[in-house]
Symmetry: C2
Subunit: 227 residues, 2 copies
């Protein structure tokens, strides 16, 4: 099988990440590229969700994936094998998050033109990635059922910065003490506007709704007058 | 019910955390206190595991718990209610880990004398807590079945620094693609000496083995000639 490109991300020297992130967002708008920053805990199913999602949208938008990981390239390889979608691996060298400059280093490893959508799979961590604006157009996160519905109480910033919360592994709801209504209540305590989409990435349940969401987002972004 | 003490942890100013951690470990040895640093992803079941464990050991050792969290005091309240064990909440104010000085601030909120064992529930995060020696005698981590057996490949440092890996939620093994043998192989790639104890914190399965492990550790520590 094809080897995936691995980019060793260097620590940023920019002092004002928010400013840098806003600049990156403007550049992406000029290029017509929608960047989604996808966050979650380790093991919540980011990669499996991406595989299901990519197979539903890859014929409708030109999409590429950046897989950020401390080490290993298992995720980028999995994505490429299962979807054929252009995937690169970003090694953060032990760093627990990506900021805008680190994201820019990753984007430089993708084709300059011809992409509508780039999905960044951030480092598996509910704390640090929430603190750094990557320059993405939107933030989404995956909360999986086994993690529990109380996570918005314990990781407030993550749920505050996310426009979309994907609830994954709903197939195992019968085996866990997970209250969907309480979860929605806690999510909306942190961000009243956050969307919530329940899915099962293993079986594909609900992923059509997620695909519709992202396709609509990309379309709106392209035609929006400004960032 | 009783309110739990909440300590707002301040950022450390110590430059050499390793040195500070070694000093804290020596102080704990002098006081005869064994400190266990318990780490994991969000939602792996740290608090439920602690409740089961504490109810098995609280009559055999004098134990207290420090619950580190970015926000909220739900964990310390839960522990106190379910076990009666002295529990305090450490608020990290958004910080993603604890270092030795932050741990010392927490310990200062516990009784100075009369404790054999303190368990620190670190912030739910597989990245940053692994990078900072808290001064604990041992590091343990919980990996839950829904997170997947490949986590030692993706979070190498966490598995390198842990003396014990607790595999939680084994009751849901039939519903997940989790290979226990592969998991053990990957854990031992990172740390050949790491112990592995499979448990189900919900039902209590395997927690006796964990209780035996910690009681033996505390006994050995007390009589060991030096740190």
């Amino acid at each position: 099988m094809d080897a995936v490109k691995v980019i060793e991300i260097k620590k940023s020297v920019f002092e004002d990440n928010d400013k840098d992130a806003a600049a990156l967002r403007r550049q992406l708008k000029e290029r017509g590229v929608y960047l989604l920053n996808l966050m979650s805990s380790p093991g919540s199913g980011k990669t499996t969700t991406l595989i299901q999602l990519l197979n539903r949208i890859k014929d409708k938008v030109r999409v590429a994936v950046m897989e950020a990981d401390i080490d290993s390239d298992v995720d980028a390889v999995k994505i490429l094998e299962a979807t054929g979608v252009h995937s690169i691996q970003l090694h953060t060298g032990g760093m627990c998050h990506l900021d805008a400059e680190m994201t820019r280093q990753g984007l430089a490893g993708l084709p300059e033109n011809g992409l509508d959508l780039v999905i960044l799979e951030n480092v598996g961590n509910l704390v640090c990635p929430a603190e750094f604006d990557t320059g993405a157009c939107r933030n989404a996160m995956i909360l999986s059922v086994p993690e529990g519905h109380d996570k918005p109480l314990k990781y407030p910033l993550m749920f505050t910065v996310c426009d979309l919360v994907i609830i994954n592994k709903i197939d195992v709801l019968p085996y866990f003490d997970f209250d969907m209504d309480k979860c929605a209540e806690y999510v909306h305590m942190r961000n009243p506007k956050a969307g919530i989409i329940p899915i099962c990435a293993r079986t594909g349940e609900g992923v059509d709704v997620l695909a519709d969401w992202i396709l609509k987002e990309v379309g709106t972004w392209k035609t929006a007058p400004e960032v």
